[in-house]
């Protein structure tokens, strides 16, 4: 055929090209985009406003967003959890819930990059055949799942840091709807409110913290996190602790000169998994020697975990902050509060070592005043005439 005529033979290549591309174009224009499914009554509304049908309780749940600790807390275990993303599973590494539910670390990992903007492999997801999928929300996240007819796709959307508590409550409610654990969600939320108020009510009404604070990323960059939109600003305000990081013009960032300019009394380091977030390392750096917080050894690694278990962890963090900034008026009850929380919610008795790890006793041992959180201090206190009001409850 190539020898029929020189130019005709060479036009064959063009014809083949046009044929192939035209075929693809025609197929793309006329092919059905999605499969037809029978309409079903809506069951719940997800965070994108979509009405979703799920046969609750879901029996095979897949989780993509960073919310595995929240799921474990609401579900009180790993029941019906089929798979989770790598990022979600990674949250169990530095989380007490990983101790309570060690089987969570063996959950099957669903393939996808850590914070991939879309599920990496739809076929693998289809092979798992889940009946509920918690997905991130945004272009390219939910649409591919719906295009393949994936049932029960619940979109999760995190808004501004200032809206974190509202969004987290919504996430917990959705988990409760999917797993038929509405009462437990109500328990978690009401307990959170109660514990939070207890911490705040124990402080004298006119108490104002004498020290101000800046919160830093405890990784290599030591970026200022506690800017204007910092998620903890509301609680710091409730504790009447002045956050100097809000003087930054941005939500986070700043450089070393900003930190030297702010020069807070107290520095809190948010622990970064895999990084050395200890105050000793920070205080050893020459460029930070002039800071008041370093001179007074008031640099601490804060017990801030994944933030995806807010209702469990925030009252504990709040009490920690209250005891840090009001050591003379706030009663020492943190260790007891940890024990009581996990006993009440998960029927799990935390050991002294586990609490030590959770509140970074070893990392903070060089920092001023941290001995009050050690088990020895608690033993000394309990040996006295009055017992801790929490444990005597």
């Amino acid at each position: 055929m190539m020898n029929i005529c020189g130019w005709q033979g060479k036009s064959l290549a063009v014809c083949l090209f046009v044929l192939l591309v035209s075929g693809a174009l025609i197929l793309s224009l006329f092919h059905p985009r999605t499969i037809a499914t029978a309409p079903q009554p809506p069951f719940l509304t997800d965070m994108s406003g979509e009405k979703i049908h799920i046969q609750a309780p879901a029996q095979r749940v897949v989780i993509y967003p960073l919310m595995l600790p929240a799921y474990l807390a609401v579900n009180n275990g790993t029941a019906h959890l089929l798979a989770a993303s790598k990022g979600s599973l990674g949250q169990m590494n530095n989380n007490l819930l990983g101790t309570v539910f060690p089987e969570a670390k063996n959950t099957q990992e669903i393939t996808g990059a850590y914070l991939s903007p879309r599920p990496a492999d739809l076929e693998e997801l289809m092979r798992l055949d889940p009946d509920a999928v918690f997905s991130g929300w945004g272009p390219g996240m939910v649409d591919p799942l719906k295009a393949v007819g994936m049932p029960g796709v619940v979109a999760i959307s995190w808004g501004r840091p200032a809206d974190y508590r509202r969004d987290f409550a919504e996430v917990c409610k959705l988990i409760g709807e999917v797993t038929n654990r509405r009462e437990r969600v109500h328990l978690l939320i009401s307990r959170y409110d109660r514990e939070r108020h207890q911490v705040l009510d124990r402080l004298p009404a006119n108490a104002v913290a004498s020290a101000n604070v800046v919160v830093l990323d405890g990784g290599r960059s030591y970026q200022i996190l506690s800017g204007k939109g910092f998620w903890l600003n509301e609680e710091l305000q409730a504790l009447r602790v002045r956050n100097k990081g809000q003087e930054l013009r941005t939500n986070f960032g700043g450089n070393i000169e900003d930190l030297l300019r702010l020069d807070p009394d107290v520095l809190l380091l948010v622990p970064e998994p895999g990084e050395d977030s200890s105050p000793a390392t920070f205080m050893a750096r020459k460029e930070y020697q002039s800071l008041h917080a370093v001179k007074d050894r008031r640099v601490y690694t804060a017990p801030m975990f994944s933030l995806s278990n807010l209702f469990l962890e925030e009252p504990l963090l709040l009490d920690w902050l209250a005891e840090m900034f009001y050591p003379d008026v706030a009663p020492p009850r943190l260790r007891a509060m940890y024990r009581q929380t996990f006993l009440e919610l998960f029927q799990f008795r935390l050991s002294d070592d586990e609490i030590d790890r959770a509140i970074y006793v070893r990392e903070n041992f060089q920092s001023q005043g941290y001995e009050r959180f050690t088990r020895e201090a608690l033993q000394t206190q309990n040996a006295g005439p009055s017992k801790d009001p929490v444990e005597s409850r």
């Binding site: 999605t34 990059a113 076929e123 393949v148």
Partner: protein
């Protein structure tokens, strides 16, 4: 004959690619799914999920990868002919960077996927227009001026992307931006396929029809002008067609490099430098290559590898091999 074999090889590769994937679908089911049209809710002799996997997940992706590979290789061969330079790729006009900037801007503004594709395409064409105007400003139209204006435009849009990466929220936007820059066909849909197919049908066909004139350009400016070729118009026309192909590709899949650079060299080793055969051979070979890369990317590991990364990792040693293979011979066969 070689070109027909390449076309047949491409079709075979496409059929083979349909078989690959994590969801098990038998060959018999694939044939039945492709060549029958059962009611969508019917189970038939294959499960509904099998139909979805083949028709909704794999088929649009395989077709899109094929067309993008064909387009990039075709564009690369055309550009190497126009510039008479073996180191030129379709990205030389700065269109890739422009398209990437448009896509990243859409991510920053939290726009829908349709807007992302549209902005990527628009910014790609904008990059070309700016490069054209820069070249016009100098009053000269030599190849060096064209290359320099493309470099300027590409650098500018590249720096804009870098700026947006710095400003992006590291928790929500930055991963999407990085994913876009690495390139992936995981989000293939029939809508995106239509964009690529429509653009390639128009631009690719025109490029193939102009392949004889590219032969004349490769003789040198003086000889081509003497033979009646309007060099400036032809050059800019080809660059515009290439830009459309590249913009469409980047808009649907992000940055995928090295294809347009190395495939023309491989094709030249097979069919020679004459553009009448080189362009179609490059197109089919580019489809085969990118399809193979995508099959590896989605099959080789636990996690899908971004294809832009894979083509770069594979492309550099292949280019080094070609460099060694053609040592002392020049890149145009006598």
């Amino acid at each position: 004959m070689i070109i027909v074999c390449l076309c047949a090889g491409l079709c075979g590769m496409m059929i083979l690619s349909l078989r690959l994937g994590r969801y098990p679908v038998s060959e018999g089911d694939i044939v039945r799914i492709l060549f029958t049209t059962p009611p969508l809710h019917a189970l038939g002799r294959y499960t509904n999920a099998s139909w979805v996997v083949i028709e909704i997940v794999r088929l649009p992706r395989i077709l899109m990868v094929t067309l993008c590979g064909m387009g990039l290789a075709l564009a690369g061969a055309a550009m190497q002919g126009v510039f008479r330079n073996p180191l030129v790729g379709p990205e030389i006009a700065g269109v890739s960077s422009g398209a990437a900037c448009g896509a990243v801007l859409a991510i920053m503004l939290s726009l829908s996927m349709a807007w992302q594709v549209g902005l990527a395409f628009g910014f790609g064409m904008l990059a070309l227009i700016i490069a054209f105007m820069l070249a016009k400003l100098t009053g000269r139209t030599s190849m060096l001026v064209l290359v320099l204006s493309g470099v300027i435009v590409g650098t500018f849009f590249g720096s804009m992307v870098g700026l947006m990466e710095i400003l992006a929220d590291p928790a929500t936007k930055l991963p999407s931006i990085l994913y876009q820059m690495l390139g992936s066909f995981a989000g293939a849909t029939y809508e995106k396929l239509a964009i690529v197919a429509g653009t390639l049908l128009m631009s690719g066909t025109l490029l193939l029809m102009l392949r004889w004139r590219i032969n004349l350009l490769s003789l040198g400016e003086d000889d081509a002008a003497a033979l009646g070729v309007n060099i400036d118009a032809l050059r800019w026309g080809i660059i515009a067609l290439v830009a459309m192909i590249v913009a469409a590709q980047v808009s649907v899949s992000g940055g995928v490099g090295w294809v347009g650079l190395i495939i023309p060299h491989l094709a030249r080793m097979l069919v020679g430098p004459e553009h009448g055969k080189l362009l179609p051979a490059s197109a089919f070979l580019g489809g085969i290559y990118l399809l193979a890369m995508d099959d590896i990317a989605r099959s080789i590991g636990h996690m899908e590898i971004p294809i832009g990364l894979l083509t770069a990792v594979m492309g550099a040693p292949i280019f080094a091999f070609l460099f060694w293979k053609t040592r002392g011979k020049g890149w145009i066969r006598d």
